[in-house]
């Protein structure tokens, strides 16, 4: 009885249970038996070599799979209480926002303001409510000054912020981002990652991030999921996962500080150079 209640309490805002998925035109599954429970307000990192299934998993997290993509879908994905098999994408989209890699191709309106209004317009909201949401989203992301601009004129970093704002206007509790910084220069990348951290901290959003730049994100995420060949091979807090041997063996870009500490044979597991400095008692 108590176990039942404990189980209920531990139900995350996203529950992935025994998920296996194979695209229709593929010979083998892209995801094998994925089990994952994500807590509300968590900042989760998903990473792994190219082809490990990260993008496929993302699309399962907002319902695009199985609703818009054909294939063999086994298992369950429950988002904020809704099973993705039983609810259409446009309903799930009000709980989860998905940001893609290449912002130039996900912005299709003629001005930033209209881009952000697109989502709420689809929901048939009143003009006042749409206006309110647009202003709020722009303020949350810090792009109010760009409202009249045309998306294709903007820099990559600005475009990505517009994409994020456009999703925030849907008021989702969860944001999923598929390598949002891969086309950006390091400064813009840093700016986006900072924004995500603030969204989690100030607005208690659940953030699921696919990212290769592990050195930039290791310090700000709560848990890491490492995938390889369609499976989850490691999951846990970054200081555990990034220091583990299994992760070293699959050849992802481990932060240099981890490599350094492991080579030196130190017992602690810092993720930032300041912490390392403290450990070595370096006088600043």
């Amino acid at each position: 009885m108590i176990d039942f209640f404990m189980g209920m309490m531990r139900m995350g805002i996203i529950e992935v249970r025994n998920l296996t998925f194979k695209y229709a035109n593929s010979d083998k599954p892209s995801l094998y038996n994925i089990n994952l429970s994500i807590d509300k307000g968590e900042f989760l990192l998903i990473t792994g070599p190219t082809g490990c299934g990260k993008t496929t998993l993302c699309k399962c997290l907002n319902g695009l799979i199985p609703n818009s993509y054909n294939g063999d879908f086994n298992g369950e994905v429950i988002i904020d209480g809704l099973s993705t098999k039983e609810h259409p994408v446009h309903e799930i989209a009000q709980h989860v926002g998905l940001v893609f890699q290449d912002p130039e191709n996900e912005l299709f309106c003629t001005s930033v303001e209209k881009e952000i209004a697109f989502g709420p317009e689809n929901l048939g909201l009143s003009r006042e409510e749409i206006r309110r949401r647009v202003e709020e989203a722009m303020a949350m992301v810090g792009i109010s000054h760009l409202r009249e601009r045309s998306p294709y004129e903007l820099s990559g970093g600005e475009q990505q912020k517009v994409a994020i704002a456009a999703l925030l206007a849907m008021k989702p509790k969860i944001l999923v981002l598929d390598e949002p910084t891969s086309n950006l220069d390091p400064f813009s990348a840093y700016s986006i990652l900072n924004l995500l951290f603030n969204l989690k901290k100030e607005y208690e959003m659940t953030i699921i991030l696919i990212e290769h730049r592990l050195d930039m994100v290791a310090k700000i995420v709560d848990r890491c999921v490492i995938m390889n060949e369609g499976r989850i091979i490691a999951i846990g807090p970054p200081e555990e996962v990034l220091y583990s041997d299994i992760v070293e063996s699959i050849g992802i870009g481990i932060p240099k500080i981890v490599k350094l500490v492991k080579t030196l044979g130190l017992s602690s597991r810092p993720l930032s150079s300041n912490v390392l400095a403290d450990i070595l008692k370096v006088k600043k």
Binding site: K59, N62, L64, S68, V89, H90, E91, A93, Q94, G97, L98, F100, D102, E104, N105, E106, F108, C109, T110, S111, E113, K114, A117, F118, G119, P120, E121, N122, L123, G124, L125, S126, R127, I130, R131, V134, P151, Y152, A166, L167, M170
Partner: protein
């Protein structure tokens, strides 16, 4: 390569602020006038009537560029008509008059259309189509296509650069070989557009496209007094032209003047 004579740019002129439906009335009425008359002098007058529109719209420079850009076609139409009519009638004076008329008619049409597109934002155009009860999906597709024109142009240039870097030379070869050389440009452009379409579809769904049958709009267009006045002026000019020049119209329908 400046291809986009018809590209809308924000401006604070009266013409820009007019409801697109009012401008649509202008477009239709004056197009009818242009097609209706065949006398070069009348056609020239109709053409001149776009001048105040261009001036009020503060788009005179761009308007001139549009016309200059179609110079090739104007000359082509003149020559084409010249040869055709002379062959049929043998009458040199008629031939010249009608060829000039056709050329002016073409310029007139270019002028009217360019004023419309230069002063109407794609957003407003889309709104007017919605108000005209066209289905939203088609209107959106049209609008999106316009939005991606600059992106495609940039991509085309990159693709041309990439293929030139592999030794593709556009200048060499006869006409057939030259046309074949566009295949390595068109195919990547088409494939890229297809890939883009898939991503956009995902992005749209992820923002609940199709959630509600009664979609709302942040911005909408409403007709004001100025729009109605403008429409009335257009109708008056239209009627005047028809009434005053009716006789000349009937007169020039036959080829003997």
């Amino acid at each position: 390569m400046k291809v986009f004579y018809f590209e809308y740019k924000r401006e604070s002129s009266i013409i820009h602020k007019l409801d697109p439906r009012a401008k649509l009335v202008y477009l239709i009425l004056f197009t009818i006038l242009t097609v209706y008359f065949t006398n070069p002098i009348i056609l020239f007058l109709i053409f001149l009537s776009s001048l105040p529109m261009a001036i009020l719209g503060k788009i005179v420079k761009k308007w001139i560029i549009s016309i200059k850009g179609s110079l090739f076609f104007i000359v082509f139409i003149f020559i084409f008509n010249f040869i055709g009519i002379f062959w049929t009638t043998g009458n040199i004076i008629d031939t010249i008059i009608i060829s000039i008329a056709m050329a002016i008619r073409f310029v007139s049409l270019i002028s009217i259309f360019s004023i419309f597109f230069l002063s109407t934002s794609p957003e407003d155009l889309m709104q007017s189509m919605i108000k005209l009860k066209l289905p939203y999906e088609y209107v959106l597709t049209f609008n999106m296509a316009m939005r991606f024109v600059p992106t495609l142009a940039r991509e085309a240039q990159t693709i041309i650069d990439a293929q030139k870097s592999r030794g593709l030379e556009f200048e060499k070869g006869n006409i057939f070989q030259k046309v074949k050389k566009y295949i390595p440009i068109l195919i990547p452009l088409i494939i890229s557009s297809l890939r883009r379409a898939e991503i956009i579809a995902d992005a749209m769904e992820s923002r609940a496209f199709g959630a509600s049958k009664t979609r709302s709009f942040l911005y909408t267009i409403t007709m004001s007094k100025i729009d109605f006045i403008f429409i009335i002026i257009c109708i008056i000019i239209f009627t005047l032209f028809i009434l005053i020049f009716k006789d000349i119209l009937l007169h020039t329908i036959g080829l003997n003047s």
